[in-house]
């Protein structure tokens, strides 16, 4: 047991001594070695391309054709047409746009705010940690969707609102993770050394501790993007997001789902499947980033 662990330890020490580039290469190597990462990235890439160039190859998502409404999937309309005769394939492809803009921005907002808050909570502890901790607890007692509804009511429904609301909702979640990571770093020698050198609290938090807790923050970010998509879809299904006629997965499902049992299943099922592929793709990406970070 102890014999076999010696070379492993020394190689890890060697890697650390040679600096960050080596670790980064190791991280990337273990990342591309995972099939889940490749599949996840391919799915995400597909939707990014669709969001940017979708209307070039899928057609116009707004064009109505009242002579061919509620038509099933065919060669002319792969995913059929909706109640206004609009091509569902174009709407599903171009519908990825909002989600792909809102989800990363909202998650970024939540990650930045949550990281700052978590650093302060974990480093300062004491009264600040107690007070903010209570407020965070209060937020976490509410389901995401309910906080989202409250936020949309307070700010009105728009894409910017969705970004702000999801950012606010994610802040306490990310703050909790960062706080826990900071607490783990706090008693390590490099923090004590920085304190003894007389560095300011701000310098220790952002220049010393932050680089060392980046790994959990990165994992948290990739996982949260998936939940951001989840929340956007849910809120726009409930009618709190983008308004028609813009193609939007959640809103399209909301308009068309009552027609499923009358037989017009294609008008909402393809939107649902599109969402499913995107969240599974992001999830595969996130879990492989997590295990690659664990490995390196």
């Amino acid at each position: 047991m102890s014999i076999s662990s010696v070379p492993v330890e020394s190689s890890a020490a060697l890697g650390a001594a040679q600096g960050a580039p080596d670790l980064r290469r190791e991280f990337l190597r273990s990342l591309v070695r995972q099939p889940a990462f490749m599949v996840g990235s391919a799915i995400i890439l597909f939707w990014i391309i669709s969001a940017i160039f979708g209307s070039l190859f899928a057609g116009n998502p707004y064009a109505q054709n009242l002579l061919s409404i509620n038509k099933g999937p065919s060669g002319a309309h792969w995913f059929g047409t909706d109640q206004l005769g609009r091509d569902m394939f174009a709407r599903v492809i171009v519908g990825s746009r909002d989600v792909l803009i809102i989800a990363p921005l909202a998650t970024l907002l939540g990650t930045v705010c949550g990281t700052i808050l978590g650093l302060f909570m974990g480093y300062l502890r004491g009264l600040f940690d107690d007070v903010v901790g209570r407020i965070v607890e209060a937020f976490l007692a509410l389901p995401l969707v309910v906080t989202g509804i409250l936020g949309v009511i307070a700010l009105g429904g728009s894409n910017l609102t969705l970004i702000i609301v999801i950012g606010i909702v994610f802040t306490p979640l990310i703050a909790r993770t960062v706080r826990a990571a900071v607490l783990g770093e706090q008693d390590l020698d490099y923090v004590a050394a920085a304190r003894l050198r007389g560095e300011s609290s701000l310098y220790i938090m952002f220049a010393e501790i932050l680089p060392n807790v980046l790994a959990p923050i990165m994992v948290e970010f990739t996982v949260r993007v998936g939940y951001a998509v989840f929340t956007i879809v849910t809120l726009s299904f409930l009618g709190f997001g983008l308004q028609p006629p813009s193609p939007n997965w959640g809103a399209d499902i909301s308009t068309n789902y009552t027609l499923i049992t009358t037989g017009y299943w294609w008008e909402s099922l393809f939107d649902a499947l599109a969402i499913a592929t995107l969240v599974i793709g992001i999830n595969m990406f996130a879990t492989s980033v997590e295990s690659a970070l664990d490995a390196s």
């Binding site: 209570r134 969707v145 849910t234």
Partner: protein, 315 residues
């Protein structure tokens, strides 16, 4: 134990108080003039002022909050602006309905999730483990809208074997029959969380010294698993089940809307879209309180089952 309980209850009350502040200010202060919101842009100014007076929204904010909190604490939730009747009974009825749906989801998912986790852990690293774990993780991230739509298309249209409207069932069996389809999206999401937790707990217990001792002293594998491993591996599972209650209520908003079920979720949603602020505030607060109570119960249960925590709490 009593000290531990008292401390937890005190903390829960503080958290609820903060929650009430958040809810009140989000719903009452930020949207501007509630009476204008209710009556619309075309209403006469005198009518808006009259409603403002009736709602009490013309008074200072702190004053309003004090009155509101005082009423809530004494069990008076106020009057719904959309139904023009007391909120308490409406809320109570919706809670009971939601509880039925949630109970059915839990009855299905808890045994399934634990079974999935334990089986995956006992087959750790094999294909069985990978299939169960990947399925669990994927199911967790798929929104209820998506699984709901797929379920409606498959079971409501193509196979045509389950009702897609939650309401309409009469009697115990009929209600359950109508609630099966709405419960599945919730089950799918919860399954992943419970399964992951049960799996991690079981793997930890399998690698523990006491499991090795039990095996080495010659106990049959079945006894080791039932008597020594499961008991310890299920502890964290209880916590995760409780912590998912918060999610569950959020999931209810969607599922109840999708399958037309009059529970707390659709009540909140209607209150939000109809700008029924008193109802919205009461509903959100009740949800927060429910979450807090369930978490507290889980902590108590956890410490009762786990002597190590109990001892630590006393010290």
């Amino acid at each position: 134990m009593l000290g531990f309980l008292a401390k937890r209850i005190a903390l829960a009350i503080v958290t609820l108080f903060i929650l009430s502040l958040i809810v009140f200010f989000a719903a009452q202060v930020l949207p501007g003039d509630p009476a204008r919101e209710v009556l619309g842009p075309l209403a006469a100014k005198s009518a808006v002022q009259a409603l403002d007076k009736q709602l009490g929204t013309n008074r200072p904010v702190i004053d309003q909050y004090g009155t509101w909190l005082g009423h809530i604490v004494t069990g008076n939730f106020g009057t719904s602006t959309q139904y023009q009747s007391a909120i308490g009974p409406i809320l109570g009825k919706a809670l009971v309905n939601s509880l039925k749906l949630a109970a059915l989801a839990f009855v299905i998912v808890v045994p399934l999730g634990i079974l999935g986790g334990v089986v995956a852990a006992l087959r750790y690293g094999t294909r069985v483990d990978r299939v169960i774990s990947v399925f669990g993780l994927s199911a967790t991230v798929i929104p209820e809208v998506v699984s709901g739509i797929i379920l409606i298309a498959v079971f409501g249209l193509w196979l045509n074997i389950l009702p897609v409207q939650a309401t309409g069932g009469s009697g115990f069996g009929g209600t359950i029959y109508h609630l099966i389809l709405p419960a599945i999206p919730l089950v799918l999401i919860l399954f992943g969380y419970i399964q992951q937790m049960a799996r991690a707990g079981t793997i930890e217990a399998l690698n523990s010294d006491y499991a090795r001792t039990a095996t080495l002293k010659g106990l049959p594998r079945r006894t080791v698993i039932w008597r020594h491993i499961l008991r310890n591996s299920l502890l964290p599972t209880i916590t995760v089940i409780a912590s998912q209650t918060g999610y569950l209520i959020g999931g209810l908003v969607l599922v109840e809307e999708l399958f037309r079920w009059n529970g707390i979720g659709s009540l909140l949603y209607n209150a939000a879209t109809k700008k029924d602020f008193p109802m919205l505030e009461a509903g959100v607060l009740v949800i927060g309180a429910a979450y807090m109570i369930v978490t507290l119960l889980a902590d108590v249960l956890y410490s009762l089952l786990n002597p190590r925590i109990r001892v630590a709490a006393v010290e």
